[in-house]
């Protein structure tokens, strides 16, 4: 990819993500929020592609945008939203929340201005190739598979989540 395009796409995708994020937390209607979140997630998949993480991007699209968000939409449709739209949208301690978030933001700014020198401005020589096989090696490789055990644990976590969700959502078991 031509280097000129990189900043353009970065700022485009970043702006999409930020706008999407703002819409998520401000919309009254949960479906609108979900759609904004989907846009943000897709933009993030684009950012992953820019970071040469194509596999994560693919997983992001399939799992997040295609799976989790469909689940969200499904649940939003199951429950009534007409009434919640007319209600107060923010809780009583919203001021405290904003203040906390502001404090956290201040912390971030402090950290990033102080620690800026740790990141040498991306002047390193990054390998520009697909690395799906590298990820697979780390996950399942015979000798390099550092995360094989964690992967199995993750599958167990998913199983527990499935059972938990069924128990929670089913009216009569």
């Amino acid at each position: 990819m031509a280097p000129v395009a990189t900043p353009f796409f970065f700022y485009l995708l970043a702006a999409t993500m930020i706008i999407g994020g703002v819409l998520v937390i401000t919309r009254k209607n949960a479906v609108h929020s979900a759609l904004a979140l989907i846009t943000a997630l897709l933009a993030q998949a684009g950012i992953y592609l820019m970071l040469y993480a194509p596999f994560v991007a693919g997983v992001q699209i399939i799992l997040y945008a295609g799976g989790i968000m469909v689940l969200f939409l499904f649940v939003i449709m199951l429950i009534s939203i007409e009434r919640t739209e007319k209600e107060r949208q923010f809780n009583k301690q919203w001021l405290v929340g904003i203040a906390t978030a502001g404090a956290l933001g201040g912390l971030f700014i402090a950290v990033y201005t102080k620690g800026k020198s740790l990141f040498p401005e991306g002047r390193l020589s990054y390998p520009e190739s697909g690395n799906t096989q590298g990820v697979a090696d780390l996950l399942y490789g015979q000798h390099t598979g550092t995360y094989m055990f964690s992967f199995e644990i993750a599958s167990l976590l998913l199983l527990v989540a499935i059972i938990g969700a069924v128990v929670m959502a089913k009216k009569r078991i």
């Binding site: 970043a14 994560v56 989790i68 919640t84 906390t100 990033y112 527990v160």
Partner: protein
Amino acid sequence: MDAMLHISTLHYLVLGAALFLLGVIGVLTRRNIVIVLMSIELILNAVNLNLVAFSRYWQGIHGATALHGQVFAIFVITDAAAEAAVGLGILIAFFRNKETVNVDEVNLLKW
């Protein structure tokens, strides 16, 4: 201007921090549980973004096989799927009993 045009790891980190903050604001201020859950997804995604950006940074230092950040991002996505499933399950159970989706009306430990 050069710093703006040359996208470095820091740019991604700042973007991640901004998303994280948006998520935190959403979690702390919204009443609707669905939107709170979505804000949690935003937070997780901000973390993921950082992880992948760090992974890229490490590839520059340690070579093309330093992909631990990406693997972690995949784990986080798995976790997000589990969290969404259970969270929405709880939400449905809650809604069935209380006919509301507002967090501040969850004021009973048992019903």
